[in-house]
Amino acid sequence: MQWLGLWHYWAVIILMMIGLYIVIARDNLVKKVMGLSIFQVSVIMFYVSTGKVEGGTAPIIPEGGHDLVYSNPLPHVLMLTAIVVGISTTALALALIVRIQEAYGTVEDDELNAIDGAAL
């Protein structure tokens, strides 16, 4: 398994590429948003995995014990913010899709293009 290097990076990269591919290749706007979420989650996993310290435990100082190895809590905390950002983005995107559905009657990108093209 040595040739893999740090395997969790591979997991992140594969997840990220799946997300990006869905964003680019799917015509359905809801599926695009799903892809976007997968893409963002992959980055969250990337950050969280970097906080891992081998043999590390949760960063809480137990009574009397000081010589423990702790995981790095900072990336975890940062990702709390990123999760909030991700949720807001998804919510806003879905709200836009609802309004696109109301205005056009479809959420398929190719059909939307056809409608807009005909209106030109």
Binding site: V23, V43, T81, Y104, D116
Partner: protein
């Protein structure tokens, strides 16, 4: 009070945005938003003055010292960009009492001002902060509120434009997040000054290289650098007129600031331009942006779309100035930030007045409009002259610095190309000016001159393009010392 100003610069619009939700009354929330934006401008002016007199301001949030705590660090560069953002919002918000061209139900206008103030606070936050992760957070505040603002356009295509911008903007923002994460991996810190001090130890590492790549592409999407500009024309064309004016004048400027920060403060000009030779990539892209943006602009039938493509070419000038990595080049790029904010803000406000009068932004519908709305269209002509770079306008100042920088480096073909691209600007501006002034009006409709509440903000910005075209001490002077400060390490 005075030492809390850096925090207030961001906190004031942020909390006012929430208060707007409570006010609910259309007129009251509008007056409130205007007052807040003027307050922001006052704070920004005081901060610039303080920085000029006493040097860098370092504000520690909650009394936690950097690098542990979040630091707001204001040097000449951010003070200068803060002024641009605050000034444009202070001029655009009072524009045209109640005539915003929004698709908002009666009685919900306060939501618009809430989103607008959030956008302002995000932009100011990106500019003022000295913490890399903070940049990402404020970037997302700005982006989310600007997607909402763009979606308020009357045309239903505004919704699709906002969605496209959302998808691309999120990918860009996430790229920036990855870049910041990798810098954190290499340096173990998020404070920009700290990162800048520790990065040189890791220059050889591939992580740093990848971090830079992610950051540049991410910022490039937000900045609409040439091949990443796909979202911009639709977003600017279908957004409400005043929102286009605001975003065109500020959002891309702040992204440019982030790029300058990343290159010159975080990674260091020597590493980026001498080791990585980044200009080999950036100069051709800038030149392509200048030419393709202007050429596409010539063929547009919608005037807002024309200006949007012209923005892409103007962004090309700015990135070109940056990639010279010389004092004159960077001065040109930075002074063009301010100048382009003035002229594009002014031009988009003109279009907002036109939209108000004839309810259209199609060039064909604007035939002979110069006779009906002489003051408005005169402002358009002056703004257009400035885009071309006629001496006496601000556009000339920026191009002068760029050409001088190109000659200094001995890159004569680039100097020639800068001048040639100006001719393309002559074509697209003259084409519409001719239609406005020398064609018979389409039909005898009673079109009136725009009201004073629209003319005054427009002329403040357009008057600025003339004033700062002649009085260069404040703009080029400040930009010059910023460039000196950023390139301190380079000859």
């Amino acid at each position: 009070m005075m030492e809390q100003l850096p925090a207030l610069q961001v906190v004031l619009p942020l909390f006012s945005a929430l208060l707007c939700l409570l006010i609910r009354n259309k007129t009251a929330s509008r007056l409130f938003a205007v007052a807040v934006s003027w307050g922001c401008l006052a704070i920004a002016l005081i901060l610039l003055r303080t920085v000029q007199e006493t040097g860098i301001i370092s504000y520690h949030f909650g009394g936690w010292f950097p690098p542990l705590g979040i630091e707001y660090r204001i040097d000449l560069l951010n003070a200068y960009v803060l002024i641009i953002v605050a000034m444009i919002s202070a001029v655009v918000l009072p524009f045209g009492v109640g005539h915003w061209g929004l698709s908002i139900p009666e009685g919900r206008e306060y939501l618009f001002f809430c989103a607008f103030l959030l956008c302002i606070s995000g932009l100011l936050g990106i500019t003022i902060t000295g913490d890399a992760f903070n940049v990402f957070v404020f970037l997302e505040i700005t982006s989310l509120s600007s997607y909402a603002l763009i979606a308020m356009g009357r045309n239903r295509r505004a919704l699709r434009a906002a969605f496209t911008y959302l998808v691309m903007g999120t990918v860009g923002g996430t790229f920036i997040l990855i870049g910041i994460g990798m810098m954190y991996l290499e340096t173990g810190t998020l404070n920009m000054v700290d990162i800048a001090n520790r990065l040189p130890l890791a220059y050889g590492s591939r992580t740093v290289l990848v971090a830079f790549a992610f950051l540049t592409v991410g910022v490039g999407i937000k900045l609409a650098v040439f091949p990443l500009h796909h979202w911009l024309p639709n977003a600017y064309s279908y957004a409400p007129a005043t929102v286009s004016a605001f975003l065109a004048a500020t959002a891309t400027k702040v992204s440019y600031y982030v790029l300058v920060r990343v290159i010159f403060t975080l990674f260091g000009a020597a590493y980026i331009f001498e080791t990585l030779r980044f200009h080999v990539l950036l100069i051709p892209l800038s030149l392509l942006a200048m030419f393709i943006g202007s050429t596409v602009a010539i063929y547009q039938t919608n005037i807002k779309r024309l200006l949007a493509y012209s923005s892409i070419s103007q962004i090309g000038y700015m990135t070109l100035g940056l990639s010279f990595a010389s004092i004159n080049g960077l001065t040109g790029g930075l002074v063009h930030l301010f100048n382009h904010a003035l002229m594009k803000g002014g031009l988009f406000l003109v279009l907002a007045s036109v939209m108000h009068s004839i309810a259209s932004n199609e060039i064909d519908d604007m035939r002979g409009l110069g006779r009906k709305m002489p003051f408005t269209m005169a402002a358009f002509v002056l703004g257009g002259l400035s885009l071309i770079g006629v001496p006496g306008t601000v556009g000339f100042i920026s191009k002068w610095y760029l050409v001088v920088a190109a000659l200094e480096k001995g890159w004569y073909p680039i100097a020639v190309l800068i001048l040639l691209s100006s001719f393309l600007a002559v074509i697209y501006i003259w084409r519409v000016v001719e239609i406005f002034f020398f064609r018979e009006p389409a039909a005898e409709k009673s079109i009136k001159e725009a009201p004073l509440s629209m003319l005054i903000p427009t002329w403040i910005l357009i008057g600025g393009t003339l004033f700062f075209g002649l009085q260069t001490e404040w703009t080029a002077g400040v930009a010059g010392s910023v460039a000196n400060f950023l390139l301190g390490g380079l000859p």
